[in-house]
Symmetry: C2
Subunit: 362 residues, 2 copies
């Protein structure tokens, strides 16, 4: 008999490294920049950056915010760190301290930069090609002076639909990007693609690709089998096994009712650990039995600390057994799909929770 | 002209304290225990516990996991700390170090406790009355020996539908609880209700209420206006303003298309800051203008770092202005509803992100 209460989060850093190297091979002529924003999608930006720096020779990193760049600087002393959200009053100190490179996406931010330049830094310019998010619009590019254009060391844009191979937006953005780059920044090196665009082929890779989601195991080319190794596993202990009488309700707001006598397990993990509440009555947890994998459907609402699942058809579940919540056979992408979102949001939630027993494989 | 890049999270600890005191008055005869599990729903368990301990004389706290109890112990040296998920091999050291009190919900955990007792600690027993989550079922209560029953210092259960005033489950669980308590633990003090049940009246309050969500400003009695003060505000800067041409698409997967020329703002916050991606094309952000409050609809998909919103009808938005994401006029509950979940899950996500400029009001 075993009683366990805490969920386990396993991060396979070896697989992050392997994924990074696989991606390097897919874009052999481009700089393989590592995107470690949002604390490396919740995994831990310092550890990811340091590993890639030391074991893969990565010297180019992207974060979203200046403060994130400042945090990883000690882990990657000689690297270039680009900051996607750019520079402002509330981040300039981080840029100075950590020698960060802003990505500048608007004329107003360029004005700010010109009044607050940091010597030795040449920003990257972000140009808008179809996503309609951050970036210089064409009329704004036209208004740049020659001197303005000389401020920059790189030109980038970002794809809207890079995960859909044949989406018309890809060619549309590619041709926009080539045209604008040629017209306004003919001599600058360029970067158009994140992970998803990297898989679209050499034409989309230019001089740098920005690798985030795929490195963390997410399938950013979902029109075919995932070429990446899974990075995240989540396990949680069965805290209690009980009979559920026919006609009984389960969980908050009594959203599940048993139409026959069932056997249930209460598993010690919930949305307080980053597992989406949207999996209520929809998701499943797993119990491997030798070669076979048994699914136990989540019944009733997920609560902050617990999942209730139906184990009626799973052989010999025991208290203390670890249910598999995320694994090689049920990945971040799978959980994203089942909860109406994407793997990116799942991983961004999970790693930030501090109740996990955290195991890291290097 | 102003450029800002980072979102702001404001936590009003004064209001947590005020809410706690309001709840005390609603249950004047019961111990008002403070639930600070899940890092006080993401707000910071140590700070919340310490404030309630020092400023409100709170001496009873609940966490979910032993490790959470261990973390808050230095902040509440003389308090009782109950652990809802109970005790197991993976948490026993925390119980010993921090003198925690397990809530025991199954015969197997009771066995574990009897083999691993900590002197001076009398556990709480959790009995199942209709939620079908953790707790002793009636047949398991029947099997307890007299000695077993003497192990416990408190008896508790938990409501499934306490936020629905007239739900039949409330009376059903209340009568189950009274009957089982009278039969098996006639002399023990009892606790049935969390925040929601506290509002159901004196009959539901017994000797202790367990106050979590309401203390953090969530309306746990949504059949009437919220009596709690709002605790959380989230603001995020407008990073860029742009024209959106008629026919253009917005965001990933091009899920929004402009049917007329629009004006958009790119706001520097996203699901990487805990704002649900489910708000894509559904949610809104706010721009107060004197007495008037203008809504800007979120268009396209939320991304990890940015929200794009339609400001065509908002007067004079400027770069650097802070958009209101969560505020007194659009609370955790409101965002929960708009994203298909509950305020509990929203708050549990937001506070764990470290890119916010954090402001705390004591």
């Amino acid at each position: 008999m075993m009683i366990l209460t805490r969920p386990i989060l396993e991060i396979n850093f070896e697989n992050i490294l392997a994924n990074y190297k696989t991606l390097q091979k897919i874009a052999p002529k481009a700089i393989a920049a590592a995107v470690v924003k949002d604390d490396a999608y919740g995994i831990g930006a310092g550890k990811v950056a340091e590993m890639l720096y030391q074991k893969a020779g990565c010297r180019t990193f992207f974060v979203a915010h200046g403060v994130e760049g400042e945090r990883i600087r000690p882990c990657v002393p000689e690297a270039e760190i680009f900051v996607l959200q750019g520079i402002g009053e509330d981040s300039i100190e981080s840029f100075k301290k950590a020698h960060l490179i802003p990505v500048i996406g608007s004329p107003k931010m360029l004005e700010f930069w010109k009044q607050n330049k940091i010597s030795g830094i040449k920003p990257m310019i972000n140009i808008e090609t179809g996503l309609n998010r951050l970036g210089f619009r064409e009329n704004e590019l036209e208004s740049l002076s020659d001197d303005d254009r000389k401020e920059f060391g790189w030109v980038m844009s970002h794809l809207a639909c890079g995960d859909e191979k044949d989406h018309f937006m890809n060619e549309h953005q590619l041709s926009n990007f080539k045209r604008l780059k040629t017209k306004y920044f003919p001599e600058l090196p360029a970067s158009l693609s994140a992970s998803d665009g990297t898989f679209l082929g050499a034409e989309f890779q230019f001089q740098m690709v920005r690798l985030g989601a795929a490195m963390y195991g997410i399938n950013t080319a979902p029109y075919r089998e995932n070429q990446m190794q899974n990075v995240v596993k989540v396990l949680a202990p069965v805290l209690q096994i009980a009979d559920l009488p026919k006609g009984d309700f389960v969980g908050y707001s009594a959203t599940y009712r048993a139409t026959s006598q069932r056997k249930i397990a209460i598993v010690s993990i919930g949305y307080g650990d980053g597992i989406p509440r949207a999996l209520s009555n929809v998701g499943k947890v797993f119990f491997p039995r030798g070669e076979r994998l048994f699914e136990a459907r989540i019944i009733g609402r997920l609560s902050m600390d617990n999942i209730i699942c139906d184990i009626s058809d799973v052989p010999e579940v025991e208290t203390g057994e670890m249910a598999h919540i995320i694994d090689d056979f049920y990945t971040l992408d799978d959980m994203g799909r089942d909860s109406g979102t994407i793997g990116y949001e799942i991983i961004s939630r999970i790693g930030k929770n501090t109740r996990y027993i955290r195991r890291e494989k290097f």
